[in-house]
């Protein structure tokens, strides 16, 4: 497989919640094995971009191709089967399911997903607590469960929304290691991240969003020279 194969492309994507026009013509693309972040302030439209890719917004227009397939008119439940795994900001752990049931819930979308044994090896806490109610886990454990859940399905494009939010530094470090390991496996990752210091060393590229537009694209090697520009956009 070529390393430059395009996995995901958004062209002129607009998204709406009812009357609210949230995304105003987003263009972005990811090649296989890339880890790309969406940076921006709260409300810039980063989470909505991920939700638009999953068809979880009220209405969306434009073009979204996943693994080469146009999905703009596809019903929501068919999109994951193109190889997408979505980890929502609120983590989406089901309280009426135990940890194991949560882990096994999403259907397999491709054949080469990680096995349950591999995942328990990667996240030993989940194994110990596999029969606990999903929402009784700590925040960090819930985040690991939300991640493990989509890794089991074999999804090779991951959309991760604020996975480090509110977690202890040691857990954030662990998640960083996991992302690097996934990237080495050839997975393509689109990461919405507030914690720039977490994202900067592991990402290949960054898109900066503001008011529902992509306003800047920054390569990893340009970070130093564009630092002041980023500071203006991110208000850090």
């Amino acid at each position: 497989m070529s390393t430059h194969r395009e996995k995901l492309r958004l062209a002129d994507v607009h998204a709406f919640y009812g009357e609210s026009h949230i995304l105003h013509g987003i263009d972005l693309h990811l090649s296989q094995g890339e880890l790309v972040t969406l940076l921006g302030r709260n409300g810039a439209g980063r989470s909505t971009t991920l939700r638009a890719i999953m068809n979880m917004v009220g209405r969306r227009t434009g073009s979204i191709t996943v693994n080469g397939t146009e999905t703009i008119d596809m019903p929501a439940h068919r999109i994951a089967h193109l190889g997408l795994g979505f980890c929502p900001e609120e983590r989406g752990i089901f309280s009426s399911l135990n940890v194991l049931e949560n882990l096994m819930l999403p259907p397999t979308v491709r054949s080469d997903g990680m096995s349950v044994e591999e995942l328990f090896e990667m996240f030993p806490n989940l194994y110990e607590r596999r029969f606990s109610q999903g929402t009784r886990l700590s925040g960090g454990e819930q985040q690991m469960l939300a991640l493990a859940r989509i890794l089991r399905t074999g999804a090779n494009i991951l959309l991760l929304d604020e996975i480090t939010e509110g977690l202890a530094p040691v857990i954030v470090q662990k998640l960083g290691d996991v992302l690097i390991a996934l990237k080495e496996r050839g997975l393509t990752i689109l990461l919405v991240e507030q914690n720039f210091r977490f994202a900067a060393p592991i990402a290949d590229r960054h898109y900066v969003m503001e008011h529902g537009h992509v306003v800047e694209e920054v390569q990893a090697h340009e970070l130093a020279e564009k630092e002041s520009l980023l500071n203006t956009y991110l208000g850090v």
Binding site: M54, N55, M56, P75, A76, H77, R78, I79, A80, H81, F86, P88, G92, F94, S95, S96, L97, E101, M104, L105, P106, P107, V109, T153
Partner: protein, 294 residues
């Protein structure tokens, strides 16, 4: 036979009637609870579906000579299919509206079905013979137990137990529980939630159809049989807690028994005792005995 001044024949007789009624309460409130859990709508047509079950059993026997045992399998499937059509073509188009609309819609469907059957068959009620295999009874030391009544209790317990297992212990049930919590995320995982909703509605309605077939030989088959029962069943769902599967089953049986006991101790209160319990539960634990706190 008396013991400490208690007429045991009378007491056990009423307890048995209570258990029978409780079996029907359990089946009907279970169907309501499953549908409410996933669709968040209250299916007012559940009573009419129970009535359809009884009528279809009667019609199958009278017109096609289909015996009770075959009807017990075929009729719930037919009623369930009607439920699937109802969800697909009536409930789904208004699913995005306020749930009051679907409540009114299902109430309207119930009234129409009841009206049609009253028009065709009259309101006096039809008789359905107890199947040959279950005629007769067993004389126990303290009571006479008709075989068919014992069968009702066993069969409804088995069906309720299987349903509980299906919802709480299987992968399909995990989809159902997760869909109850966050249908949108389920879709994003690649699960066809609309299909699950349709099948769930069909299954909940089929449970009512099953109860209807079971009821045909013991209650008279009449257009009003469903609406009479449904009000009590709603009270039971409120007592048990909306959306709790195990709660619906246990509360259904328990309320039947409480009703039976009241019939023995103070018959005048037997028709109101369940509503009294409902009021007390609502005051003390508004989410119901088995409901999750909101």
């Amino acid at each position: 036979m008396t013991f400490l001044g208690i007429n045991l024949f009378g007491l056990f007789g009423q307890l048995l009637v209570g258990l029978i009624n409780g079996s029907f309460y359990a089946l009907l409130s279970l169907g309501l609870a499953i549908i409410f859990g996933l669709l968040k709508i209250i299916n007012f047509a559940q009573g009419a579906m129970y009535m359809l079950g009884a009528f279809f059993a009667w019609m199958a026997l009278s017109y096609f000579g289909m015996n009770y045992w075959v009807a017990l399998v075929v009729v719930p499937l037919v009623v369930g299919f009607i439920g699937i059509l109802m969800e697909r073509f009536l409930v789904r188009p208004i699913a995005h509206e306020d749930h009051l609309y679907s409540l009114l819609l299902t109430f309207g469907v119930a009234l129409m079905l009841q009206g049609i059957f009253t028009h065709v068959y009259g309101s006096s009620g039809l008789a359905y013979a107890i199947p040959e295999e279950l005629k007769g009874g067993t004389r126990l030391p303290f009571m006479y137990l008709p075989n068919y009544r014992a069968w009702i209790i066993v069969a409804s317990l088995v069906v309720c137990g299987l349903t509980w297992w299906l919802v709480e212990k299987t992968k399909l049930g995990a989809y159902l529980r997760a869909g109850t919590e966050n249908p949108q995320l389920m879709q994003a995982f690649g699960i066809n939630v609309p299909l699950i909703v349709t099948l769930t509605f069909g299954f909940g309605v089929a449970l009512a159809g099953f109860a209807g077939v079971m009821a045909a030989p013991v209650y008279s088959v009449s257009p009003e049989m469903g609406s009479n029962l449904l009000i009590v069943v709603f009270a039971i769902v409120v007592i048990g807690g909306m959306g709790s599967i195990g709660g619906a089953i246990l509360t259904g049986l328990a309320m039947g028994v409480i009703e039976g006991l009241t019939k023995y101790l103070y018959p005048e209160a037997s028709t109101t005792v369940i509503f009294l319990v409902m009021v007390i539960v609502l005051l003390l634990k508004p989410s119901g005995l088995f409901g999750k706190e909101a």
